[in-house]
């Protein structure tokens, strides 16, 4: 496939569809964070939201012909990896201290 054919193939799907797909994934992530009580599933919903943003950046980058967006996706992946490390360490500590991964157990800061 030549580069021209790939160029037109990328633009077959309108950008709006990628935007709506990312919005839908992000909203599912938000609903999941509010819906569940298991901390590990809340962390996974965070990953889902990260990925919807990544998809949106990649789609804009491809439609814009700008590699900067894809480098940003790379950096978001780095930050997500660091975030997961700390988040899972907090989860391990929570399991050790209150013997549960239920977020409702940690309500000391709630008014």
């Amino acid at each position: 496939m030549t580069m021209d054919a790939i160029n037109s193939a990328i633009r077959v799907v309108p950008l709006e569809h990628y935007v709506v797909l990312s919005f839908l994934l992000f909203s599912i992530g938000i609903a999941g964070v509010l819906f569940r009580r298991n901390t590990i599933i809340i962390l996974m919903c965070l990953e889902l939201m990260f990925n919807s943003v990544n998809l949106l950046l990649a789609a804009f980058s491809a439609h814009h012909s700008d590699p900067g967006g894809q480098v940003f996706v790379f950096f978001i992946m780095l930050v997500a990896a660091a975030e997961v490390t700390v988040g899972l360490a907090i989860l391990v500590m929570m399991k050790r201290n209150v013997d549960s991964v239920d977020v409702n157990q940690l309500n000391q800061l709630k008014w």
Binding site: I30, L55, V84, Q105
Partner: protein
Amino acid sequence: MQYFFYLFAAISIISALLVVSVRSPINSVIALIVCFLSIAGHYILLNAQFLAMVHIIVYTGAIMVLFLFVIMLLNLNSATEPLKKLSTRVAAVLAGGLFFLTLLAAIRHGVNVAPANAPDASIGLVDKVGMSLFSEFLLPFEVSSVLFLSAMVGGLMLARKDAPSTLPKPYIGPGDVGAAAPPTMEKSRNPTK
């Protein structure tokens, strides 16, 4: 070509809904892996080959395996998670749906993008992304190593066994002097414990 997009989109949305709705954490992780693989398919459709590979390696290969390790090491899969109150659950779904509607309303006139550069399908290839990464974004790339170091040190500090706990001690009983925690800090409601 666009049928692949709609196929991958359907897979991502269904598996994302499964992540939220399935009870067992292991099944939730597997649904999230399916979702990530379909997103890698989207990257390939956008000709972002570098991103697709890094996505599969980092997310499916490292992060999700880390999640599985933690679930298995802490034996969380047997935990039957109590649901939130019905009103809270309805509010959660409403909040997500209304947020989606708000975002949709923001783009109701369409997304107006004029291509910044001439159409170039090779921007997602390794050499273009690498050139951009090591010239324009060299400083953030190097700084991210500091971020990783601090995340690693922080993770070790938090997960170490003899680390002094910053959390309040669990409520033991009425004679527990100095326990500021009201009985809401009860032990796990988990029946398997």
